[in-house]
């Protein structure tokens, strides 16, 4: 076939093709380094395309190889830069593209943490405990720990408040979002697998087919109606939590985004309903909108009153039989602790599970002495630290059991 460049001499094209083919292996290698999943089959197809005349013009070759080697949007976007760098030797631009392009460590966290999480199921109290990670190492502290492990993995065990530079914070945010996404996929997948089991409804089939003399012509099927797990998140945005709020917001955004059964509330001295802001697709914009809602935070925490508002105005609407309420707070109550206890009891009657995440529970030597926590704990099903990415991921198996 004479695809293109008809006015050129064929010998010339052949010459170009053979030159290009020789360097193709090197190009494939470069692409692999940049995180592309290209194998032998792609290489052969590329050679076939080159033989068919696609190497006649650089733009054409670039376009052809781009379709062939890209597998996703991120590949698609960075391909042109890599191609230009390799074939057309535009060096400066290429460096930037190639280094930024390394494939991110493929979610290192989930598998390894699944086992660690919830081994101490029923402790002495009625409250489940996730082993607290007292010994969370100081991220930058020991140089030895950095060896051989990617930074992304190291971040998993660092307490959120110890993140110093903006870059690290950004990494943690990205990791939290990734973690949330993985958790969401797994939680929903379980749900779908369960929904799969439809079976024949024999009784209805026979009844429907009486008119056919009992021969089952129209089959009636039965499908289990399943309520998906609904997460309701109540996030404390008061001053004492300020170190953690941003990471949690990012995590919660990851969990809620497109998770159709989820609601989010923010509280400090008042309770604010923030689901619509949280369902914003773009994390940055969601956080912007939330920070507006969170203004006026920092003056103290009235958990009891906020819960009372929740119970009175929102609970009936957002809680159903397969709901889990997740409260993220340090439990420093500046209002009436008796009220907090009463409202927690009311909430516990209503929903399936209450998870209380307290970032400070992960600190060495922390004991739940705050009056708020003491009042609330008897009604909480799971009390977990959640001050590191690792402790967040340990939540997943618990949620999956609900």
């Amino acid at each position: 076939m004479s695809c293109c460049g008809q006015n050129r001499e064929f010998e010339e094209i052949d010459e170009v093709s053979s030159l290009v083919s020789k360097r193709l292996a090197g190009f494939l290698h470069t692409l692999r380094d940049a995180g592309f999943a290209v194998g032998l089959a792609e290489g052969q197809d590329a050679a076939a395309a080159i033989a068919a005349g696609y190497a006649a013009r650089p733009v054409l070759l670039r376009s052809a190889l781009k379709h062939l080697f890209s597998a996703r949007k991120s590949d698609w976007d960075k391909f042109d830069g890599i191609f230009d760098a390799f074939w057309l030797a535009k060096r400066v631009r290429s460096r930037a593209v190639a280094t930024g392009a390394a494939k991110p460590a493929n979610n290192p966290s989930l598998k390894s943490f699944q086992d660690t999480g919830l081994t101490q199921g029923a402790g002495p109290s009625a409250t489940d405990q996730i082993s607290s990670t007292d010994d969370a190492p100081d991220g930058r502290g020991g140089e030895g720990r950095m060896e051989g492990a990617s930074r992304a993995e190291n971040l998993d065990e660092v307490d959120f408040r110890k993140f110093a530079d903006p870059e690290q914070v950004a990494d943690a945010h990205a990791a939290a979002a990734r973690l949330a996404k993985a958790m969401r996929t797994r939680l929903t997948r379980r749900d779908i697998a369960r929904r799969r089991g439809y079976r024949l409804d024999l009784r209805r089939t026979i009844h429907n087919n009486i008119s056919h003399g009992g021969v089952p012509i129209a089959l009636a099927k039965r499908r289990r109606k399943d309520k998906p797990l609904r997460l309701i998140v109540l996030l404390d945005a008061s001053g004492s939590m300020s170190m953690y709020t941003s990471v949690f917001l990012r995590f919660i955004h990851g969990v809620l985004d497109e998770f159709h059964e989820a609601e989010a509330f923010l509280f400090h001295t008042r309770l604010a309903y923030v689901s619509s802001a949280m369902k914003e697709r773009d994390a940055g914009r969601a956080l912007d909108r939330l920070s507006l809602l969170a203004q006026g935070a920092g003056g103290g925490t009235k958990i009891g009153e906020s819960l009372a508002t929740f119970n009175r105005h929102h609970a009936a609407r957002v809680i159903h039989s397969r709901s889990c309420v997740m409260i993220v707070s340090d439990g420093y109550e500046t209002g009436d602790t008796a009220l907090l206890g009463r409202e927690m009891a009311a909430l516990a009657r209503r929903c399936r599970r209450i998870v209380w995440l307290n970032p400070m529970a992960g600190w060495a030597g922390y004991a739940p002495e705050a009056r708020g926590i003491k009042a609330a704990l008897p009604h909480v099903d799971l009390y977990a630290p959640a001050n590191t990415l690792k402790s967040l991921s340990a939540l997943e198996p618990y949620l999956a059991r609900l």
Partner: protein, 290 residues
Amino acid sequence: MKNRDEIAQALASSGYIADSELVTAISLMQLLKRPLLLEGQAGVGKTEVAKALAFVHATELIRLQCYEGLDQSSALYEWNYQRQLLAIQARHGKDADAIEDQIFSERYLLERPLLAAIRRQQPPVLLIDEIDRADDEFEAFLLELLSDFQVSIPELGTIAATTVPHVVLTSNGTRELSDALRRRCLYHYVDYPDIDREGRIIMARIDGASASLSLQIARMVHGIRKEELRKVPGVAETLDWAAALVGLDVHDLHDVPELVHETLMCLVKTQEDRSRLTRQVSDRLLGKVA
């Protein structure tokens, strides 16, 4: 097999205004016999690509719309149980083996899109729409079909493809597709068209849209896409809006700023976005339209 120029011409005459990248993709599809995976935001015209491709090859378009819970019986084939039961009753008392042979024959087989696509005399375009909505298992099954192009039906044996269809898959990215499927396919990212191309699309699709009006509309839509909207208007919305404006006998957007603002409902479809695009915003955007 068509060369690039012929493809570009055929696309143009089908009313699909393609960029040169897409022409390359389509010619590569023929050369390498690989499926084409299209990704992109909703409303950028992914499905239109398949329709245009069917036009280019002057062939039939077979469409399989994916959804959660899609299974083989609605995608590949199913036995016509009702007919089978009737056949059994009609031949009551005859030899059981003969009846069995008969009811498991082609006459009682219901073709679904995938089986239909590999049994045509002329290779059709098979559009597997929104593959990301289907389940993982279905994706794995599809992968097998796309590499072997044969189907095995236990009662009937293996059916090999008479022709290999041109396969186009689209995805909106609601779920991450498997690497295996991605590697099987050529990849093309469909982006919102640039101003010039969108203008030409409007001209080609809407009767009575003048060149200057089309370009104005394209510029305006381009500006609106840059506003922070929850639902960014796609090409289909642009066409709706252009049709509305032409229907209202508008020749220049600057003449009728209030009408422009009122008809924006063709473009933005949520209350929230509607309230964000106030008269001030629409006037400001209109001001930027040359």
